[in-house]
Symmetry: D2
Subunit: 292 residues, 4 copies
C-alpha cells in the first residue's frame, strides 16, 4: 500500500533508561537530513547517548512537531515511546538493534534502506489499541496510565496466591484464585500473556484477553472479551498483591482498591515498512517454520 | 431488558434424529395455546415423537410463519435448528431436558415459567455469528453449508498427522502439521475448541479462533482473527483428511481441495430468558464456583 | 489390606499458626482414650486451642513416643506436620475439618468411625518422598529444610522475569527465562505444580517434576526426572528472585546463590483409612465424574 | 563412559517401506569392513536399496549374530527396528539422514567418525522400556505387539468423541470422554504425547504417561503412573474407535474389546555416541537455546 502522507520531521527515540551507543542515531539522523528531513532527538536519548549533533526535544515538542517517531531499541523501547506518544497521535516505527522484535519491524542492517522507502511513501499504517488503567480507592482515582501490552494484577512479595473478583460492565465474571490475572491487548497477546497460555489476538480484533496466571481451578481458561468492556478487578481480602503495566511495577494493591481497565480513547499508530506481514513476523518469532 | 416484540406463532423443535417422548411438547404446546399463541410442530419432531395434536410444519413454513422457535433438547439440537433457521431470521430459545447447556438456557423444570415470561416480553436478544463453509475443487464449489460452532479439518481413517497451508485474506499464515485445525465462532469456543486448548471468546467479540489440534510444533498456539477474515485451508499433500462442521462429518478431503471459511451473511438470533448471564452460565458449566 | 501394627500412643496436631476450636480434639481424644490409647496433644495446638485436658508434648517427645499422628486441619497442616515428623518415622493420618483434601483422607463427619477402624488394624500405609533443599553460598550451606510438596524459585518483589541455569547430576539441562520453576514431588504434583500445567505423578513414581512458571520459550515443557537426581539451580544474573518451599517463603536469592534439591533420606508414612483410593480422591477433587 | 564390549558383527537397517539410496550403506559398510567387522544388511533394506554388495540377513539371523544394529533413517525407522530387535537383545544406534532426531543420535556428516569411535569402545548404553500391548476379546488375546513410543486409543472414521473406562491394576481410574488416550513410555513422551500436552519423561524414570487427547473435562490432565502398572482400557459403548501403536494403525476397536498395556519383559538397548546428552538433544530439538 502506498500512502500519501509525507514525513518531514522525524523524532528519534532510544532505549529507555539504558546507556546506548550514539552511532546508529548519527548514521540515521544524517541520512534523514540528506533526504531533506528535520531530525529531533528525544531529550533522554540525547543524554544517554551523549549526542549533541541534533536538536533535542522533549515529549511535548515531539508531540507538537514530529510527523514520525523512529525507535532504535527493542520491544520495551517501543512500549515506552508508544505510551508517551499516544495522546499526540505521532506514529511510530521501530528499528531493532539485533534481530526483529514483535514490534520493531526493521532489522538494524536494513535501517537506511527501509527508512528510505518509508520516506518514499512505501509503507503501511496500523492502529493499535491501548488500555486505560485507573486505580481507585474510596471512590477516587489514585493512579492512571496507558498501557500498550497489558495490565497485570500479580501476587506480591510473600508470594501467596491471591483472590479477587472480576466484573465486566458491572456483571460478575468470576472469583479468581490464582497467582494473578493478565489483561492484554492484541499487541500484548504475544508478550507475557502468551507465556501464561493466553491466545494470540490478531491486532485487528477489537478484544482484550483475560489470562489467569496459575489459576487454582483448572477450568479457569483465558477469555477474550470485547474491547468496549470496562473490566473491574477488586481484591477480595487483604492480600499481598501488586499491579504492573507493560512490565512496569505500579505498586502494591490494598483491600478495597479497585483496578479499572478499559480501552483508551487514543490509539497508537504503527508505521510498517514495505513487505511487513503480521503472520510472517509470528512465523519467525515463534519458529513456526521449524519442524521438530 | 424489556423487548417490545410479541411472539404469536411458536414452532417447537425436538432432538434431531433421536426418539423422544412427546410429553413435554404437549405440556408446552397446550400452555402456549392457553396464552393465545399458535403452535407449530416441526415435521421431523412430530414423527419422532408420534404427536398429532399440533399442526406440523416444514422448515419453509416455519421460516415463513414462526415468530420464535423453541428447541427441547441439548446443545446439539440447538446447533441443528440454528443452521436451518439462520436464513429465515426466526429467533431461537432452548429448553434443556436435563440441566442447562451452553446454549439451552432454560431448565426443564422452569419451562412454563420462563416461556411465560418471554411471552410477557421479559427477555433479551443476542445475535450469534455463523460460519459459511465452502469446499472447492478445480475452482468449483462442491459443498457449502453454515456452521454455528465450528469447522474442523481433521486427520482421517488411518490416523496419521496431516499437513496443510492456511491463508487469511490471501496472506500466508502457516504450514501446519497437526492432527487438525478447528475454526471456531465465539459460540463454538466453549465446545470442541475448548478441549483443544482454545480460548473462550465472549459472543460479542467479532472474531474466529484458529485452534490447532495436537500441533507438531509446540509454539503453534491458538490465534483469534477478525471475523471479516476469509480463511483458506489447503491440504499440502495427498493425505488422509476429513472435514467436519458442528460435529457432523462432511467427508474426505483430497489433495487440491480447498476449504474456505468466512462469516456467513446471516446471523442467528438467540432469545434469552430473564436473568440470563453469559458469565453465570460459564461459571456453572465450568465449575468456576468450585474450589479444589 | 489388614495391617498388624497396633497404635497405642496417638499425637494430635491442629492447624499451624491458626486459632482453632478445641471441640474436635476433645471428642477425638476422649474416643481414643476409651479405646485404651494414650493421647498426646502437640504443644502449639494445645496453646492455640486452649486445651489442657490432654498431656501436651513437643515434637521431640512425639517423635520418641507416638505410634501415629492425627492431623485435624487441611493439606497445609499435613505438610507442616509431615516435615516435622519425617525424621522420627511417626506415620500420619489427616482429618479434614471440611470436605476431603488431597492429603486429608478422612471427612470430619466420619472421624470416629474411621479412626476406630484404623485402631482395629483396618488401614493401608504409603510412603511419600520428601525433597531435601539446600541453599549454598560461597560453598557453604546457609539454609536447609525438607519439603513434602515442592521447592519453588520465583520472581521477587519487582516482578520481573528471572533467568537461571538448571543442572541435574552436574549435567546442564537448560537456561530458563521464566517467572520461576517448581520442583515437585509426586505429592506436590496436585498442588501448585498442577496450576502451572505440571503433570500429575502417581505417588509411587520415583520421580520429581520440573515445572516452569510462565516460561518465555513456549517449548519449555514440564519434565519428570528420576528421584535420584541432584537438581541444582543457579541464578544467572543479579535478579530479584525468591525461594519458597511447601508454600513457605524462605527468602531472597542472590547472584551466586545455589539452590540444591535432592531426595531426602527420610520418607513420610501416610496411614490411609479403609477404602482409600488415590484415583477416587483425584476424581472427587478434580471433578472428573462431572460431565460438562 | 568407556564400555568394554566390542562390536564385531554389525547389521544395517534402513527406512521401513521406503525407497532409499544405497550410497550411505555402501560407505558405512565398507568402512566397517575396513575396521575388521562383519557387515549384514537387513533383507528388506537390501531390496529397497537394491544392494547386493553385503550379505543380507533376516531378523532371526540378525538377532542371532549381530552385536549392534545401525539404523540409517529417522525416528520412525528406529521405532520399527527397536520393536523387531527387542527380544534378541541386539543394541541399536541411529544415524539420521538429515539433522538429528530424538532417537537418531548421529548426524549424517559425522557417521564414519562416530561409528569409528563406537567401535573403539567410546560409547554409552541406555536401556529403554517398551510397552506390551494385548488386545482381548471374550477373554482371548486377539492381537499383541510391542511398542517403544506409545499405544493410542483414538476416535475413528466418523470422528466423534469416544468414551472409555481406564483401570490400573484393577483399580478404577476414570471414565474418560475425549478424542482418545495416549499411553506413552519415556521414549514416546517427546513424540505424539508431547503435542497433546503430555509431560516429558526422562528415559530413566520408571513410569508411563497417560495423556488424554482433547478431553471433554478440562481437569483431565496427564498422569504419570508407575511402569509396573497394568493399564486396561475398555470402550464404554459401541463407538467408533481405533487403536494405534508407534504410529501404526492396528485396527478398529469394538464394544467389549479390552486394551491391556503393561511393561514389556524386554527392553531395547540404545548405544549413544561419545558426547551424547539427553538434555542437549532436547535443547536442540525443542529450540530451548532460542530466545523469542
Amino acid at each position: 500500500m502506498i500512502s500519501m502522507r509525507s514525513f518531514k520531521t522525524l523524532a528519534l527515540f532510544g532505549r529507555y533508561n539504558t546507556r546506548q551507543s550514539g552511532e546508529a542515531f548519527v548514521t540515521l539522523g544524517n541520512y534523514l537530513k540528506s533526504r531533506g528531513c528535520e531530525v529531533l532527538l528525544e531529550e533522554h536519548t540525547a543524554i544517554s547517548c551523549g549526542l549533541t549533533v541534533f536538536p533535542t526535544a522533549d515529549l511535548a515538542a515531539i508531540g507538537a512537531r514530529a510527523d514520525l517517531a523512529v525507535v532504535l531499541g527493542g520491544d520495551g523501547s517501543m512500549l515506552h515511546a508508544a505510551r508517551n506518544l499516544a495522546t499526540s497521535g505521532v506514529p511510530l516505527v521501530g528499528v531493532n538493534q539485533g534481530r526483529l522484535g514483535f514490534m520493531t519491524d526493521i532489522a538494524a542492517d536494513r535501517m537506511l534502506e527501509m527508512l528510505g522507502r518509508i520516506l518514499d511513501g512505501d509503507y503501511s499504517r496500523e492502529d493499535r489499541t491501548l488500555l486505560s488503567l485507573n486505580v481507585r480507592r474510596d471512590g477516587a482515582t489514585v493512579f492512571s496510565t496507558l498501557a500498550l501490552n497489558d495490565v497485570v494484577v500479580n501476587k506480591g512479595a510473600v508470594g501467596r496466591m491471591i483472590e479477587f473478583l472480576v466484573h465486566i460492565n458491572g456483571e460478575f465474571v468470576y472469583d479468581l484464585r490464582s497467582d494473578g490475572l493478565i489483561v492484554s491487548t492484541p499487541t500484548g497477546s504475544t508478550a507475557y500473556a502468551l507465556s501464561s497460555n493466553g491466545p494470540i489476538l490478531q491486532p485487528g480484533v477489537p478484544g482484550f484477553a483475560l489470562v489467569p496466571i496459575c489459576p487454582h481451578t483448572l477450568s479457569n481458561r483465558p477469555i477474550t472479551v470485547s474491547d468496549d468492556s470496562v473490566i473491574e478487578i477488586t481484591l477480595k481480602r487483604a492480600l499481598d498483591a501488586r499491579l504492573h503495566y507493560d512490565g512496569q511495577l505500579q505498586g502494591d494493591l490494598n483491600e478495597g482498591t479497585q483496578v479499572v481497565i478499559s480501552r483508551a480513547p487514543h490509539t497508537i499508530r504503527f508505521v510498517h515498512p514495505p513487505g511487513y506481514s503480521y503472520f510472517a513476523m509470528l512465523r519467525e518469532k515463534l519458529h513456526w517454520s521449524e519442524a521438530l
